[in-house]
Symmetry: C2
Subunit: 411 residues, 2 copies
């Protein structure tokens, strides 16, 4: 182990729960020192301490229920600056050279979209200079500086993205994502009690799981890691155990058919009734929704009767009001029927690269649900996943059934 | 009033107590809007909310009792970033265009001395651009960016200094310093109950009062204001009353002999006994202290007996241990006697430009103290001030007596 890491650059990202208080910050310092002693050069990416960001948001909303995104970025970016400077102090106390740097000082250059900026490039000179001096470099996660010299934040999962982007820019040997759980699980362990930690998972599987409700890693960070083939190691900051390696190809010879299952009840189903079944109508509907940045997930169009059909689709719950408004306008424009919605739905998904080479997975999934009297409302599939929309109150039951039928409790 | 302010640029600095909570921030927003409606362009300089800075310092010391100044600057500079973004949101809510800017974004360029940086220059382009757009510009006080692109803080009284330096750079018509009291008083109103608010005071008098214990304005900001002749208006953010104007020459024809009195018990007296009375010894002593950044205030050397003398001087209490150590070393080097110290002292001062043209002020001061059985231990005078070191427990009594004898309760 020691030789393998000698002189290697590793990125370690610690989430808010890993630096929630003074003791946690000291724990993180000890973990960094463990790697320093192995001869690594370490770049640390930190989130804000515990609930700091949420508290700042609450404070802002007291002053202005609808604050400008530019000023929100000014406000919440202070959270990481605090955690980073404190970690530098903790390392100094243990006689380890360290320096904290803001996104601006690092040179994490983003576009100008406040609260959801995209990283354009990272000017890594400053980091390289500090690493050469033998310092641990501590970078504020979740933030950058725009081409207009404004402080920007990267949106949800932003610190993971900072870590991965730095790993790309600095050609790091490893990127570790520290969190408060031991890795990626075959299912949410709070729902499926015999869920197992997964040792290896591919980027594609992780992307499918993340977009289907698994909350450990945000899709944006995984997408960048996949693009540049940076292996990610998701693990706990409170344990020395190995976590889950997310990579291009796992070292397992025969891939698992199903790697994991996920559940979300964060979507709502909209139905446009009695829509004229002619080319271009569906495009019209989904184009208007896309223009409002509404992310449509599943779409089902029924068989046409008398040249008319029903179109159903799901959108995130937060976009319900906006979606209804747009849909009603479209319905009026095209002379179709009423617009209804159903919040009482859940989406259960199974994910695994092995599905590519195994037939019968979908059939097994649908039949076990049917056998358990769980009615499937909508279905969508990709090469490596199957998702079913069902009634909300059957979601957890369905998740447990699918977890068992595909043998995930035995891996 | 309206015409006088139309299109003028004014700087308003609000201290921590003026932005201590959501209500205070909203109050500040209302006050700014009052000036906006008069047609002013307003630049606001803010301190951190209430005790934020102190709380961050406590947090840091839990992690490292001796934190690096560079990381402390990273940490505490977040306080102003928070208050500034919140004020921008409060103004937006009231439909007033506003933007918050960090010291780095403004271009407040400092030297590299963390925690006590000096402002080298202000690149005011960004501020001018935002003012031209019709925005209220909100600047983080107390901080800048060093020539090494590091976040620096300006030390005690730093936000006042930021405001004055901006007033110089932007050629502001007025610089208002908002605080939680109504202005500069003839004496600390908590000690002298009939102390009166002063309407006008000269820069020189303010400097003397500040360095002798009056805590409203820090000397550094007043020095810069004096150098560039920027009138300062010290006033309360909780009242519409006019405060105190600090200026080069007051508009009063006959200057008050004594403008105010001040008291401090923040110093300690050191005595080097039995020092050989030959040239160069005193220089040796005070040179060594200066090398350690110890600020010696008053110095008294007794009449020499048998070619030996006692040298007494006062230093800030916080430097006592260091001063004793250095003094003992010097005493050993030059073969003099013991080093003693007295913490049980207070310094009472009277200040006024009128002293220049009025004789007998010192005599009146000394005789009223003598009549009240207050023994004077050390005396120092300048052209416009007289300070006396007395026993600590007589400090408040002396302050009240001097306030009365010079008629300050009747102005």
């Amino acid at each position: 182990m020691q030789n393998k890491l000698k002189n290697k650059i590793i990125i370690q990202k610690y989430g808010g729960s890993s630096v929630a208080n003074v003791e946690c910050v000291e724990n993180v310092a000890r973990r960094i020192i463990f790697y320093i002693k192995k001869g690594c050069k370490v770049i640390v990416v930190l989130s804000a301490m515990g609930d700091t960001t949420d508290e700042l948001v609450v404070l802002a909303k007291k002053i202005n229920p609808n604050p400008s995104e530019r000023e929100m970025d000014m406000l919440v970016s202070t959270g990481e600056q605090i955690s980073c400077s404190l970690l530098a102090m903790a390392l100094h106390k243990k006689k380890v050279e360290a320096i904290s740097l803001t996104g601006s000082q690092v040179g994490i250059i983003t576009d100008t979209y406040h609260s959801q900026a995209k990283i354009l490039k990272i000017e890594a000179d400053r980091i390289k200079k500090e690493l050469t001096k033998g310092k641990v470099v501590i970078v504020t996660g979740f933030q950058g500086v725009s081409t207009d010299f404004e402080i920007t934040t990267l949106g949800r999962g932003g610190s993971d993205l900072s870590a991965v982007a730095l790993a790309v820019a600095i050609k790091a040997a490893m990127c570790e994502i520290y969190t408060d759980v031991e890795g990626i699980y075959t299912a949410d362990p709070r729902i499926v009690l015999d869920a197992k930690k997964i040792n290896y998972i591919t980027f594609d599987e992780m992307l499918e799981l993340a977009s289907r409700g698994a909350k450990i890693m945000h899709t944006r960070a995984v997408e960048v890691a996949k693009k540049f083939n940076i292996p990610l190691h998701v693990r706990s900051s409170f344990s020395k155990k190995e976590g889950t390696l997310i990579m291009e190809k796992t070292p397992v010879i025969e891939e698992a058919v199903v790697r994991g299952v996920a559940l979300t009840d964060n979507e709502v189903k909209i139905t446009l009734c009695n829509v004229l079944d002619k080319p271009g109508i569906a495009a019209h509907v989904f184009n208007d929704l896309a223009c409002e940045n509404i992310n449509v997930d599943m779409i089902v169009q029924n068989v046409s009767h008398k040249n008319a059909t029903d179109i159903s689709f799901t959108v995130p719950k937060k976009d319900l009001a906006k979606t209804i408004k747009i849909s009603k306008k479209i319905s009026k424009d095209i002379g179709s029927g009423e617009v209804s919605f159903d919040e009482n739905i859940a989406k259960v998904s199974i994910v695994g690269v092995g599905m590519r080479s195994h037939s019968g997975v979908a059939a097994k999934c649908f039949s076990v649900l049917a056998k358990n009297k769980i009615n499937i409302d909508m279905i969508s599939t990709s090469e490596i996943s199957i998702s079913c929309v069902i009634k909300k109150d059957l979601g957890k039951k369905a998740l447990r059934i699918l977890h068992k039928i595909f043998g995930l409790h035995k891996i």
